[in-house]
Amino acid sequence: MLVLAIGDLHIPDRAIDVPTKFKKLLVAGKISQVLCLGNLTDKQTLDWLGSISPDLQLIRGDQDSQPSSLIYNSLPRSLDLEVPGGTNASKIYAGLSLFKTVQHGELKIGITAAHNTLSLHDPDTQLIIARQLDVDILICGGAHRVEAFELDGKFFVSPGSATGAFSVEKYTDDGVEEDEEEEVNGKEENDNENEDGKNDEDGKNKEKEESKGDKDDKDKDEDGKDESENKEESETNGEETKITEPSEAIPSFCLLDIQGSVCVLYVYMYIDGDVKVDKISYRKLQ
């Protein structure tokens, strides 16, 4: 069965919409369950997720902090929300759990948003959560880049932001960018191929436990616009000033194909106007 893990949409505060190509991929009838990792902040997208599968599981993201997220007024009834009295939006919102677990085959999956657990990019903290929830797979929202790794026999997934929403994480800024800038200085600035290759190196250096999918993510850390901007930048500013724009998060989501004790994770990324897919397998140890 296919389970969709998607989150951090932040529409419209940080992003305009999910890429159309994603929307074309994600249609009704294929996916059994949708796990939304918070920050689902508009009704249209809620409706869209609901249309992908009636089994839509939501948790509370860090931005879901206010009743003004009117969308929760229109949450489908099937969602098993703990609503202590009344349908007031804030109460519905409050009813959204911070954690949730679902069982598929032999695998137990837990979902949460990272800010609840300080687990952002800290595998050891994530491990505690997994242990606490007693899950084999822990899917964390909050990180705006896709990530997947295995630790202590458990599988950890961050599906990233489906809209490539602006992230306040440090990573998108000084980390990659500055390293990259140095690299750019050392190479021919217009050569995008080289840039990609160099990004790859960055990835290796920075993320030791990063999965293959994540590496690809970093391979294409810049979307087309940024590349062309780089080009323009180089043309207009000349040789002496090389500026690399802060990279934008890449829109991404994950699909979990679960068969018994095996989960094949498909990572979908929207790069340069195309959808790229990577895959990684996890088998639960008996």
Partner: protein, 848 residues
């Protein structure tokens, strides 16, 4: 009743037809067959059938006669058609007689030796005998149908034209038939009781296609050129149209003319056509006629434009909003190179047959817009009572024409819009608020939005905004939504400040709702939220690769959005995040902008104001979140003061506005999470902030919340870099700021926090909760133990394990059911420790 009549008639026709067929099949009995045909045709003399049923009957008769015609064709010249043509004329009744004549005559026309011209003339002349409108219309329709593929097309001078007829004869034939049919059709209106007027009008509408078919036929004749059309054909048709003075006929026929003849013909005869309009029956809806023609030519221009590439217009139309101004030159040059190849005069298909130059299909010598415009003004003079909605609808069509045919001539649009605005001002409110007028206006103001992808193009029409702002709030709203949808659909960046001002100007009605939408503001209906969300999305489209300009764009946006009052809470967050992006972009330009820090500071001031406005709108918790986000970015940009201030603001909001205990706990999670990621605070500032956070945690109302907040706060003294968590040597940030918080590792404070968390947990009365908290804290111990915090010794771990075990053993204090989850969690934790013993000898000393 008439249905029975129809059935009886049909039965009779079918019987006679089968007898007729029998006669024909047993050869030689042609005269008998004709007699049967004549008998069945007698059914068409009926006066009782309504037009629809008469048509049904006609169809059956037509088929029967087609069979007869085919037979006669085959038996010629044994039974010479010339003889038959005379013979059938002995039929005593005129309707059957003429149908038979036409049947024979048209078959005869197809024969090589036939005097086609004479036959045509004779049939046409004899048809005059049927003056009954319905019967006459069908008879002549029959003539038209049967002769359709037999009409001669020889040129006038051809030697055979004298007998075989020429194209001109055919044209004359069709026109005459048209004129006669139209007369009959119009006459139908004036028959019978006046109280059945409406019924007759309806019947006439059912019959109109019979009349119109002649014009279709005419348009299908091959070899007509536009000169002949202008000199002979159209005047003849229009004369009839004017003369008949019938409203229905005039409206219908002018519509048909517009539809069936080629665009080139219309262009060549526009003056004649428009002059005709002035002579129509005053009851005619001139509007529809004019609009149909305008729209037809507008569509034509649009189609022709597809084929043309080398026009400024094209570039203007296709220029996207994100074609940055600097980029234009480059793009233009490229475009021209390409276009020159395409429009090579030798290969260009449209230009070759004509010497005249064409622009979007319209001769360069012709100012199509002016022709229509003058006509429109003339019309207003001639018919001052023309309803306002009609005027607006015509102006709407002219808008379309102007855009399609002269996209670069914005002065035309201005002419239209200012005229419309003027008229609206002069008109009374009943007229201006009629639904039709409003709809027409709406269509008019919407059209350019949807047509020009550069909104600036629309905005550069001086009278556009004036006209738009004179519209009802509802209309303005629709336009605004269209603007948004078009902008969002294109997903093109808005890079120009003028564009941005323009766009937000168009959105004014949404930003500050008026009318019906405004009343529901308190309730914040879904619609309002949806509209505001769209505006927020537009904010993300503001972009310029120069961050200064980008910032200016956002300032424009804030200026516009600030009018939104409470609604700012929907739109400001987008501004905040857009501005945060710029902050990062400044940071990236450290080496270029010497004063990047100052610029960044300005940005954060801007953001500060934005968030505090959000806070005012009652969205305090969200403002808190935004402050924290801003603080994180400020920290990353090295703007410590701003970062500190943002945290302070967040704390203030926390203290003043966050009262719900759940929300408080969430807020603390957010604080911890954010502070843990900061790197550039001075140690003093950092310690101030984290201490404050820890205090908030310890003051939470509920013990479990308090406990968790406290143990989470422990992480604030134990920073973990995502890129070097196990690598103590690499603690310095790339910037090398030694006073930064990256190096904060205070094992002692961590231990204090955990101990404190334990004490809070210990105070919990519910054993199940308590033991759950203990296990959670145990896991934190192990975490720090793992991370080499030397303060966390085996002693503490063993002690906690023992406490937990004791708790589980004290089975009087809890229900086994409630304790099951923490127990399992505990077991899993012990399993983990056991597994760690294999890789880390330090774990050996943990025992239980």
């Amino acid at each position: 009743m008439s249905n029975n009549t129809l059935q009886e008639a049909l039965t009779e026709v079918r019987q006679q037809e089968s007898q007729m067929r029998r006669c024909l099949e047993h050869k030689g009995k042609i005269m008998d067959a004709v007699k049967h045909a004549s008998t069945l045709l007698a059914e068409l003399r009926s006066s009782t059938l309504p037009p629809k049923q008469y048509y049904e009957l006609y169809i059956v008769v037509f088929d029967a006669l087609a069979y007869l015609g085919a037979f006669l064709k085959d038996s010629h010249p044994t039974h010479h058609l010339a003889d038959l043509y005379e013979l059938v004329q002995y039929a005593g009744n005129i309707v059957p007689r003429l149908y038979l004549m036409i049947t024979v005559g048209t078959v005869y026309m197809g024969m090589d030796d036939a005097p086609v011209k004479e036959i045509m003339k004779d049939m046409m002349e004899m048809c005059r005998g049927v003056q009954h409108p319905v019967r006459g219309l069908f008879l002549r329709y029959y003539l038209s149908q049967r002769s359709r593929d037999k009409l001669p097309t020889l040129p006038e001078g051809d030697e055979n034209a004298a007998t075989k007829g020429s194209l001109q004869d055919s044209i004359q034939f069709v026109i005459t038939n048209f004129i006669e049919m139209n007369k009959l059709w119009v006459r139908l209106q004036h028959q019978g009781h006046s109280r059945e007027r409406d019924k007759r009008t309806a019947e006439r509408q059912e019959l109109q296609i019979l009349v119109g078919s002649n014009l279709v036929r005419l348009s299908q004749l091959e070899g007509i050129d536009k000169t002949y059309y202008r000199e002979s054909i159209l005047p003849a048709i229009l004369e009839q149209v004017v003369q008949c003075r019938d409203i229905l006929a005039q409206e219908y026929l002018l519509d048909v003319i517009t539809q069936v003849f080629p665009d080139e013909f219309h262009l060549a005869t526009l003056d004649i056509f428009l002059d005709t309009i002035a002579n129509l029956n005053p009851g005619v809806s001139v509007r529809r006629i004019v609009i149909t023609m305008i729209e037809r030519l507008a569509a034509y221009a649009a189609r022709e434009a597809e084929n043309e590439t080398n026009t400024v217009a094209k570039q203007l139309k296709e220029a996207h909003l994100d074609d940055a101004v600097d980029n234009d030159k480059d793009g233009d040059d490229k475009g021209k190179d390409k276009d020159e190849e395409v429009t090579d005069p030798l290969t260009a298909p449209s230009a070759s047959p004509y010497t005249e130059e064409y622009h979007r299909g319209i001769p360069a010598s012709m100012d199509l817009f002016k022709v229509f415009w003058d006509h429109f003004l003339g019309l207003l003079k001639a018919r001052p009572d023309l309803p306002l909605e009609d005027q607006m609808a015509i102006l709407g069509a002219l808008t379309k024409l102007s855009m399609n045919a002269y996209p670069e001539r914005l002065e035309f649009l201005d002419q239209i819009f200012s005229h419309a605005a003027e008229k609206l001002k002069a008109a009374d409110s009943a007229a201006t608020s009629s639904k039709e007028t409003v709809d027409a206006l709406l269509a008019m103001v919407l059209a350019p939005i949807n047509f020009y992808s550069r909104l600036l193009t629309v905005l550069s029409v001086p009278s556009y905004l004036e006209l738009l702002q004179s519209q009802t709030a509802a209309s303005q709203r629709v336009v605004a939504i269209a603007v948004i949808d078009s902008v969002l659909k294109e997903q093109a960046h808005i890079t120009d400040i003028g564009d941005a001002e323009g766009v937000f100007g168009l959105l004014q009605i949404l930003i500050v709702p008026r009318g019906a939408a405004a009343q529901s503001e308190d309730e914040e209906s879904e619609d309002v939220a949806a509209d505001q969300a769209k505006i927020a999305k537009v904010v993300h489209l503001l972009y310029h690769k120069d961050p200064d300009t980008h910032y200016k764009l956002l300032v424009v946006a804030r200026k516009a959005l600030s009018a939104g009052g409470q609604l700012r809470k929907y739109t400001y967050p987008a501004l905040v995040f857009s501005t945060l992006r710029i902050a990062r972009r400044y940071k990236a330009r450290e080496s270029v902008f010497v004063d990047w820090m100052q610029r960044t500071t300005a940005l954060f001031k801007f953001i500060h104001k934005l968030i505090s406005d959000v806070s005012i709108t009652g969205r305090a918790e969200y403002a808190l979140r935004l402050y924290v986000d801003a603080a994180q970015v400020a920290d990353q940009c090295g703007a410590e003061e701003a970062a500190y201030e943002f945290f302070v603001q967040a704390f203030t909001v926390y203290e003043e506005a966050v009262s719900d205990s759940r929300a408080q706990f969430q807020a603390i999670c957010i604080f911890v999470s954010a502070l843990q990621q900061t790197r550039n605070f001075s140690l003093d500032n950092y310690k101030l902030l984290i201490s404050k956070t820890a205090v908030y945690g310890s003051k939470l109302l509920k013990k479990p919340d308090q406990c968790r907040a406290v143990y989470m706060a422990s992480h604030l003294w134990w920073t973990v870099d995502d890129d070097d968590e196990d690598d103590d040597e690499n603690k310095e940030t790339p910037e090398g700021e030694e006073s930064g918080t990256a190096s904060v590792r205070d094992g002692k404070r961590v231990l204090e926090c955990l101990q404190r968390a334990l004490r809070v947990a210990d105070a919990c009365m519910d054993v199940a909760v308590q033991v759950q908290l203990f296990v959670e804290i145990l896991n934190r111990y192990i975490y720090y133990f793992d991370h080499g915090n030397t303060e966390i010794t085996v002693k503490y771990i063993n002690g906690l394990v023992e406490v937990i075990q004791n708790n589980f053993n004290d089975d009087g204090a809890y229900d086994a059911q409630n304790i099951e989850a923490p127990k399992k969690f505990f077991d899993r934790t012990l399993d983990y420790i056991a597994s760690q013993k294999e890789v880390d000898e330090r774990y050996e000393s943990i025992v239980w």
